[in-house]
């Protein structure tokens, strides 16, 4: 009997999130070729993303469209997803390990009385056909491999770790709009302040320039922002910089901040405390710029520059600008 895995896709700033493509890929990896991978998109204008989800590997696309679903509400989105789950009866549901996925997945897992494996970074299928899910625990100091003992499965996938499938613009899929009957919402969203609109989300950024207490002021982030702009990356921070009031806590990377896995991580004036490293040690290439040659960050950096960030960072920006100009 063929199985159906459901992927909960998400948009951000008017486009589908990269992690949604990665999650489709994750469902395919775990399910194999025989599995039907269905995607669901919940939102105010969900219908406009059907083609993209299809080209990235969805065999079927469900949409739940309603003006009230423009913004995430734990109860509203749960009701919308629940309607799709009742229609599809999926054998597994995959989410991005995002603000929405983290809040929605455990709700549906509890409702279905089933297991959830959170924050997955790799998937393999063993010789017996069992899907094994890898997740970093103890702040990335250990990798745990887990498996489910019963269906349905619930899983959340960490952004930037599982490569999306190759885009195929000739793919077609069946689509279905699922009706949303609004529950009595006890939870009311009064206000949303978008600190991150227009900016690249840290968890999905390919390049991150992070600043620590060494930037010395809010203005000290300016050279880092200039470098990020040239590289198409995002700016992050250590807790040291956040605590000092140089930037918003939204930028914090580490054990109690965001966990990131970019291709390139440039740490400027960050000492490399264990709790900071917990959030970035799986980055592919790490660069440290610090004036203290003994700073622990150099122990994990692929390339290090001992020097003053205010001198080095603008020079780097110039260097990249020249080379990357068309």
């Amino acid at each position: 009997m063929s199985r159906t895995f459901l992927v909960v896709a998400e948009t951000r700033g008017g486009s589908l999130r990269q992690v949604s493509y990665e999650t489709i890929s994750a469902a395919r990896l775990a399910g194999g070729a025989d599995t039907t991978v269905a995607a669901v998109l919940i939102g105010a204008t969900a219908g406009s993303f059907v083609n993209e989800l299809t080209h990235y590997g969805a065999d079927r696309v469900y949409t739940v469209e309603h003006a009230d679903l423009e913004h995430y509400n734990p109860q509203g989105y749960f009701a919308a997803l629940q309607a799709v789950v009742q229609t599809v009866q999926p054998d597994a549901i995959f989410f991005g390990h995002t603000a929405i996925g983290k809040d929605l997945a455990p709700q549906i897992a509890a409702e279905l009385g089933t297991g959830q494996i959170s924050d997955i970074t790799a998937i393999e299928v063993d010789d017996n056909g069992q899907a094994l899910f890898t997740r970093p625990i103890y702040a990335g100091k250990v990798l745990e491999k887990k498996a489910f003992t019963a269906f349905p499965w619930i899983a959340t996938v960490r952004p930037n770790n599982i490569a999306p499938l190759e885009v195929d613009p000739t793919r077609t899929a069946t689509t279905e709009a699922v009706a949303y009957s609004q529950p009595t919402l006890q939870t009311i969203i009064r206000d949303v302040v978008r600190n991150t609109s227009g900016k690249i989300d840290l968890s999905e950024a390919k390049v991150i320039i992070s600043g620590g207490r060494g930037v010395r002021s809010a203005d000290g982030f300016k050279p880092l922002e200039a470098l990020a702009t040239v590289l198409g990356g995002a700016v992050g921070a250590s807790r040291g910089a956040c605590d000092a009031g140089y930037c918003d806590y939204a930028l914090q990377i580490g054990q109690t901040g965001k966990v990131v896995t970019p291709e390139l991580y440039i740490a400027c004036g960050v000492s490399g405390a264990i709790q900071h490293v917990a959030g970035m040690s799986s980055s592919r290439v790490i660069i440290a710029i610090n004036k203290d040659p003994e700073a622990p960050i150099f122990k994990i950096a692929d390339y290090g520059i001992v020097g003053d960030l205010f001198e080095v960072v603008p020079l780097l920006t110039e260097q990249f600008k020249l080379a990357l100009q068309p």
Binding site: A110, G115, A139, T196, A250
Partner: protein, 255 residues
Amino acid sequence: MNIIVLVKQTFDTEEKIVVEQGTVVEDGVKFVINPYDEYAVEQAIQIRDDVGGKVTVVSVGPERTAEALRTALAMGADEAVLIQDSRIGHDEHSVALALHAFISQEPYDIILGGNFSVDNGAGQVAVRLAKLLAIPHASSITKLDISAGRAVVQRDAEGDLETIELPLPALFTAQQGLNEPRYPSLQGIMKAKKKPFRELSLDDLNLDAGAVAPRTERINLQLPPARQAGKIISGEPAEQAQELFRLLRTEAKVI
């Protein structure tokens, strides 16, 4: 106001992790209250001090967990409950069901937990519990105001700030920024010794082992490949910048 706080005991964030025979070695390790749960305990104490009531801290875990509960009592919580039973599965489904069995028998207006645990970090147990109890929740909160049976919270959603209103009873999970947890005072530690401390097993909760069997299993544990210290680039700043660019392009191939 009856406030229940979900407390998990975790490894201290500074601890080195040693894996032997498929498990993480616990000998000589310092255990703490999960830092997010510490915010939850602090918030509960502040609300009680404001409006009166009782703070009960509850944990599912092995015997050593009692120490985390004693710390919460020393901070100012009123009562502690340790649910300890080797038949409870080590998975979020099982732990949430055990907590549900206890809490559904208790009076409560507010349940506070952590955003996630800093060791296992699944971020599931508290939200699962809200669903099992059929009460509304708000996760990852950085501000909580209670008045007239309603809560107004600020919530951190990947850096965006949401203001949400919901009726009590409700469950909340704490994010960094909610408050500054207090240290237990010497007097608090003395008082804690006399506070009610209950230990419950599955039988006390009328649960059988089958009901709390886990839905996931651990296959193995591995250490991630260690990162090596790399090259230090020397020279004048302009030369360093040039050399770094060259290495990124030709050696690391990231740009």
